[in-house]
Symmetry: C2
Subunit: 203 residues, 2 copies
């Protein structure tokens, strides 16, 4: 890929940022990250989004996914985040705390990029185009394998809002089947994007 960064959002070139990210995770996860980037760029192009921001947000979205639980819990305490976060584990922490670590350690301060990282696991009531791109790209990138992924890909390349709805509904069904904890914001996202009564909000 020949994407040249403008230096507006990060001091690093794309290759340098890839190296920084790669140093934080397993090869398997880094392959996933590159898949998310490829998909996010495609979705940005198709939806008149910012391709550079899509690339950066995709590259950093899982930056904190492999941090030790102890470090993340210490961060929750030292930064006075809501202690209710603790029971939800790194599936939830890595987006919310990840955005802070990206700021501190990578010097990325663009709030649109940071919000896309914050929201990439749970979605939110209000989602920017970049939020939707990262949320959906994370779900459908080429390395993903699960029964509904082909259907999710088809929807994503037709209608990004419908893809947010599809992903939110089926992620929630999956969590319940697994009897996994559900983070309250996931229900806010569901009530906005899936439930029919108030789907007109925020669109």
């Amino acid at each position: 890929m020949k994407l040249i960064y403008s230096k507006k959002y990060t001091q690093y070139t794309r290759l340098e940022l890839m190296e920084k990210v790669s140093a934080q995770m397993s090869k398997k996860r880094f392959t996933h990250v590159l898949g998310v980037e490829e998909t996010a760029i495609k979705l940005a192009q198709m939806n008149n989004g910012d391709v550079e921001k899509a690339s950066i947000a995709a590259l950093v979205h899982d930056y904190a996914k492999e941090r030790a639980d102890e470090e993340m819990i210490a961060f929750i305490h030292s930064h006075h985040l809501d202690e209710e976060l603790i029971i939800f584990g790194n599936n939830i922490w890595h987006g919310i705390i990840g955005a802070e670590l990206i700021k501190l350690e990578l010097g990325i301060h663009d709030e649109e990029i940071l919000n896309a990282v914050r929201k990439h696991t749970t979605g939110d009531m209000v989602m920017s185009l970049l939020d939707k791109i990262i949320y959906v790209a994370d779900y459908i990138e080429p390395n993903r394998r699960f029964p509904l992924v082909e259907q999710a890909r088809k929807i994503a390349f037709e209608n990004l809002n419908e893809a947010v709805k599809f992903e939110t509904k089926h992620t929630l069904e999956y969590l319940i089947k697994q009897e996994a904890l559900i983070y309250p914001k996931t229900i806010t996202t569901y009530n906005t994007w899936v439930a029919t009564v108030n789907r007109h909000l925020n669109k």
Copy 2:
């Protein structure tokens, strides 16, 4: 049935209370109410619960289910309840507001009975024996017809906590399949009773 009320919780006899409740709803719903009462009494007997309270709470649990939306919304405003309630409709209102109407109109002030009415649709993180009895009886009473009801009945007559778990999980799955709004407390109930990580809480 020959259940004689003690007059500790209501001034009415059981028959008088049945008449009061019956006047508030269709014949079909009243048949459901009597089914919930029969089941609640059985569950109370099996779990060393208070049979009289189980009967009263069951009889009044749907007292407000057929009130006009306008009256319920006016109640939310006049009693300064959270306006976020409004979008959730009478499925959620009739328990929360129903408890207040039961106090005002039927003179029932026992907080254990009122809480069982408040929690009968959504459950809660903390549930008393009576809360569980009414929540489960409402789901499995003899007039209920849905694919999992026989399994739910079997579980309920073996282990009330497992029945709370089963009902919460499958109600949530049903709501998502219907793309219905989910009241946030339903997720609190799910995270406590279904999700495995913190299931040790409140039991």
